[in-house]
């Protein structure tokens, strides 16, 4: 009989202690155990990018990581990034540019975009497209998203 394992981690700045079966991936752990449903599940095989979260400051596909692997780690989800205000300007740019339609890709897209903006202050459109190339959006055709990220980068340079 496979038993749950105890893990301790930090999620959006709060300490979480949980007992979790080894087979539970991080996306399902966040959604079903912690009710952090802003992390979306689109394919469960690491292609669509909807489940992108941050682990120890770096973006990962949460469907391709076991919850037990986050023992001792710091995890940040879209809810955390929203509440901290870290991506408020990026969200404003998405709103102004209508860079989302159904919104299902948006949490993952914001995660990936913020990851780029942290690494590069002046990304050109090609670099933005490249960095977001693992995040699938069926609605927008991507251009509005690229525009919003470009606008945010510009805003941060002049801020």
């Amino acid at each position: 009989m496979i038993v749950p394992l105890s893990i301790s981690l930090e999620v959006n700045g709060e300490r979480v202690d949980a007992d979790v079966l080894p087979r539970v991936n991080l996306a399902d752990f966040l959604r079903e155990h912690l009710q952090l449903t802003g992390t979306h599940v689109g394919c469960e095989h690491g292609v669509c990018g909807a489940c992108t979260v941050r682990v120890n400051g770096e973006i990962v596909r949460s469907c391709l990581m076991l919850a037990v692997q986050t023992h001792g780690a710091s995890v940040q989800t879209i809810e955390g990034l929203s509440d901290s205000g870290e991506i408020a300007d990026l969200q404003d740019a998405f709103r102004d540019r209508n860079a989302l339609q159904c919104g299902f890709c948006t949490p993952g897209m914001l995660m990936a975009a913020q990851d780029l903006l942290k690494q590069q202050t002046e990304p050109d459109r090609e670099q933005i497209r490249e960095h977001l190339s693992g995040n699938y959006c069926r609605c927008t055709g991507y251009q509005a998203i690229i525009d919003a990220v470009e606008t945010t980068a510009r805003g941060r340079r002049t801020a």
Partner: protein
Amino acid sequence: MKAAAFAYARATSVGNALQLLETYGERAKVLSGGQSLMPAMNLRLVSPELIVDIGELAELRGISVSGGVVRIGALSRHVDLLKSPDIAEHAPLLAEAIAHVAHPAIRNRGTIGGNLAHADPASELPACMVALKATIVVRGPAGERRVAAENFFTGIYETDLSARELLISVELPMAGKNSAHFFHEFARRRGDYAMAGLAAQAIVEEGAFTDLRLVFFAVGDRPVLAKVGSGLLGRAVTPAELATASSALGKELDPQDDQQASASMRRHLAKVLLARGLSALLGRPDLHAGVRA
């Protein structure tokens, strides 16, 4: 789909990991970055009894340079290689290739050891290892083995590594004087597995190759070190010679048909890569322009 149930062990040392592998054999799977294993488990294509998580093994980390050798610990992630000044300086081919591997979120988790042990014939890194004359360091119950990359990859998802062994590190000779490299692949979308790719490492002296390793990937069941490379050493390559080499390459390769490309398509793309690669390595646009693959 959700992964089938499995037990999980966080290995505390290489020895501990090897013990677990010894006990479980084929019923265990080593979890490194998990970027190939997790999709397979989520699709229930793979259902191990035990997952041996080696993620905490510090001795498998790190990139170091000494004695003319670049040593890369198995747990080095793609992003680590991409950002490493040592890799950029001493193995620029690898740095260039890594940028073609998947996407940032995948590169933050995927490791070189996991990638090589998985041995996807369409993957960039096995080809780079062969091109760079890498040595794969493997540890098992009987101790450590060192395997030349050329002999490590034995088939589709198959390597010389047994179920009771762990890939520890890879060692690359530092790129020397006059070395040149070329990397290119044809993939439908950014980050996709290639339909055909070429990782090439060479030494060019006075317009001629003194060493040339052309390793094609996604055109066979493993990286293919093309024999035609050796015929191009020591003299200026003419368009006619390139044409000869191209046709010899076509005969040498034995790619498979799949959904993305027929065998003849892959063969054709390899010839295009050969022309573009040689032309780039020698700085001779005339070569590329002169040949219709």
